[in-house]
Symmetry: C2
């Protein structure tokens, strides 16, 4: 496993490789969700690259950049175990040198949901992903369905700008009780950890209602809201039933639906989602 | 010479070629300035691609998109004569399909000069150039110094996003009397054509003053303004003496200086520039 810490060195290493290269961009503090992406990437490509970069431009000044969890040693051990060829750990000052001022923005699909609650977040995501794609030049890039809106944004970025790679979306990996894997889960104390299950339970409720024939997004949303409000440690940021492609909010479900939610458990903001009625 | 009209066909043709590929993006209605770029490109690359695309997103609603001059037949003849391998003529609806909404924006250096007078112009330029670079995958791309701010924007775009190509800037090509070549010169009637020379004369005045040791940007600007105001058909949009890299306006010249101006002659807006005190 090559561990590379400069853009120039990564480009040189990348060009030394023929064949397909799969790429898993991460912010580190890896969990089984990340490792599932790496395994899938390994299976589908001649070589696998993983980046670890806690991207400052996707955090707002109010957010948790400074306290975002990091453990490089453990991350590298996990990547070595799962079988990674190239690990890219660029320093922030090389990704954003003094005077950096070029931004990639996907409008429309970023206006609602996470975009509405985290101004500038997706501009930071789209910019760093575009830059990483230019450095890594991957054949395929792997993202988790857990960040549903991010997936839509990156698919649109790649399509609109005709970027030369395939975006592969992988299912959300969950703890045995259903909590979606997230680096932020480490912030939860035992009581909060128990309370955090309310996100999964609300999604399961939506799935059950949908399977029973319910097609009123408004009624499903109301039932989910009610369920979450019964958990005193939970504060709802949003509960959305939206068109999976445009992310426009639905009141009646005709085709598929992306059911997504953001809930604060104490100071920790968690997101989760499920797509219903669409082959994935 | 291959003439290619779809993105998919261009990508296929591009991948069929080994070796270096030089790229000259244009809006067509070619003149000797464009052909100088193509000749330089041919000399420095195994193959040469030219795009002809009148990019709607870099025109504001008030601007001259509809009446922008076009002559595809003549353009193709000129490109064949000068020796072009690939010509790319994408239809606007393929570059900007329904729902297109991803934008590349270079901030800072786009705030002044053309950016201040043409809101959204450089967002359109940066977006289409990024997209064309992804489609063409050039080794080198060629731009004329005539569009000085565009050159700065594209150099910054490529550097900030680590795009995989070299930007080559070529000197402005001029008519025998000094008027910078421009597709928009065709709009000028004979009296306006004569009056348009005032841009070049103002730049020559700046050069003469600088060569004589003048380092007050304010005094040079004032002398240029006075000269242009003596031409009744000319209306000044701006006269700028700026840092060639940051485009920040100068009052004293210490290093080099980009002297640029935009002047309306009747309804036609012309730009020109010269860089003084910098090896180019």
């Amino acid at each position: 496993m090559q561990v590379i810490r400069t853009i120039a060195a990564f480009k040189a290493a990348r060009r030394a490789r023929a064949g397909s290269l799969g790429f898993v961009p991460t912010m580190g503090y890896l969990h089984q969700g990340h490792l599932a992406l790496v395994r899938r990437c390994r299976a589908e490509n001649d070589a696998t690259a993983v980046s670890i970069f806690v991207n400052p431009t996707q955090f707002s000044p109010q957010e948790d950049l400074a306290r975002y969890p990091r453990d490089e040693e453990r991350d590298l051990r996990l990547l070595r175990e799962v079988g990674t060829d190239l690990v890219f750990l660029p320093p922030p000052e090389e990704v954003y040198p003094p005077g950096f001022n070029t931004w990639v923005e996907v409008l429309g699909v970023t206006e609602r949901l996470e975009g509405a609650h985290r101004p500038g977040h997706f501009r930071g995501v789209a910019t760093v992903v575009a830059k990483l794609f230019n450095i890594v030049e991957p054949t395929r890039a792997y993202f988790g369905q857990k960040d549903a809106q991010q997936v839509v944004v990156i698919q649109k970025l790649v399509a609109d700008l005709t970027m030369n790679l395939e975006v592969v979306v992988c299912p959300t990996v969950r703890e045995p009780d259903g909590l979606a894997m997230s680096s932020r889960n480490v912030y939860l104390d035992p009581e909060q950890r128990r309370a955090a299950l309310v996100l999964f339970r609300a999604l399961e409720l939506a799935r059950t209602l949908y399977a029973g024939g319910e097609r009123s997004a408004d009624r499903i949303r109301a039932r989910m809201t009610h369920l979450i409000q019964e958990e005193p440690r939970a504060r709802i940021d949003y509960i959305s039933l939206a068109d999976p492609r445009t992310l426009g909010e639905l009141s009646e479900i005709r085709g598929g639906v992306l059911v997504s939610l953001a809930v604060r458990i104490g100071a920790t903001r968690l997101i989760d989602n499920v797509v219903l009625g669409v082959e994935q």
